[in-house]
Point group: C2
């Protein structure tokens, strides 16, 4: 028996059945708690498959930072970044690094219906050298004003909602991407906590 | 003679010649300084024509909040909200209120190439009754997760970049919307401060 009411259980099921397993985000030393919180919330809203992160201070996502939102997202702290990139590329993911650089393409030119890892950079220094090294695509969000950059949680949202647009057009929110086994396992975990 | 170098002056000109006079934003009691800052920055990046706001505490946008970014955006504090809506509607603007409601359409269904005012709601209470009363369109950004809402600065960015997409497709960033008189007046103001 689940420890939640029927409505809540239905909501959990719907989330897992529409979860975009093949759309993932890596926060490469994003540090502001406010940004971390907003990014987790947007990842939840777009229903990304997994959120990876690393942090200068080995912070873990917790309730204080996300007000609980991280509980519903699969997330993982990355220690060995080289291994992380090698593994995810082996799985067939394209690495899309968001970057404020000449050597970039407009973010809308990327096909986000492919298995995609989106990389977000640090508030001050941007994405790390290692992330740039493993980039398959470097993308920029066009800007027409005085500011040098967007807030990182804003950049994340603009890219993720472009991915959501492409994926919903293709019907990718209509059929499950997670295996039935993972869905059932996760439901148990969620419904008992 | 302008008090800025040639490169800086060129940048200022470019901003004014691409400014989207007919795309405007109203912050209806948005109060968090972090959100105000991110919204100003995104409005600058998309180069919106004007940013209106009101605030429970009569706060004005200042350097402490925006780190200077508001200087490059036309902005106005709204005292009389009824008059504000009546005037802007008389000018031919459609009022697009962002809302978490059943009675909404997907934000991508709106034609943002028309003169448009986008209304953002308060972090806790959402858009005011008055804003809803004057709404021509009520729009929602689809969400597939547990969270009830997006961060307001994130919602603003998702909508503004949809407007940017539609407007750049239509070549609206390629010809000036401000009058030459306003451009020259503004250049003088900017170049001397
Ligand atoms: C505040 S920016 C970093 C600024 C840093 N000074 C630099 O030059 O990279 C933080 C992160 O937000 C994202 N970002 C911000 N604006 C962006 C834009 N216009 N295009 C793509 N990514 C952007 C990138 O992930 C970036 O690393
Ligand atoms: C945190 S939300 C307000 C939540 C408030 N409890 C409510 O129910 O309206 C703050 C503002 O962000 C915007 N917003 C957040 N998520 C949105 C979404 N999914 N669609 C449209 N607007 C959204 C709206 O302007 C909203 O008023």
């Amino acid at each position: 028996m689940y420890l939640v009411n029927e409505e809540r259980l239905e909501k959990m099921k719907k989330i897992l059945y529409t979860r975009q397993d093949t759309l993932r985000v890596f926060m490469d030393y994003v540090y502001s708690p406010h940004n971390l919180a907003a990014i987790v919330r947007t990842c939840d809203a777009v229903n990304v498959g997994k959120l990876y992160y690393r942090h200068q201070k080995k912070v873990k996502l917790n309730n204080e930072i996300t007000m609980g939102a991280h509980k519903w997202i699969f997330h993982e702290y990355i220690d060995d970044i080289e291994k992380f990139y090698q593994d995810i590329k082996k799985e067939g993911y394209q690495v899309v690094v968001t970057l404020l650089d000449e050597d970039t393409v407009d973010f809308r030119e990327v096909d986000y219906t492919k298995p995609t890892l989106i990389v977000l950079g640090n508030e001050v220094d941007g994405a790390s050298e290692t992330s740039i090294k493993y980039a398959d695509k470097k993308v920029i969000i066009p800007m027409y004003g005085m500011s040098q950059s967007l807030n990182v949680s804003v950049a994340n949202a603009v890219i993720l909602y472009e991915a959501q647009r492409q994926r919903s057009l293709k019907g990718m929110y209509d059929k499950p991407q997670l295996t039935e086994e993972i869905i059932q396992k996760t439901l148990k975990k969620w419904a008992y906590k």
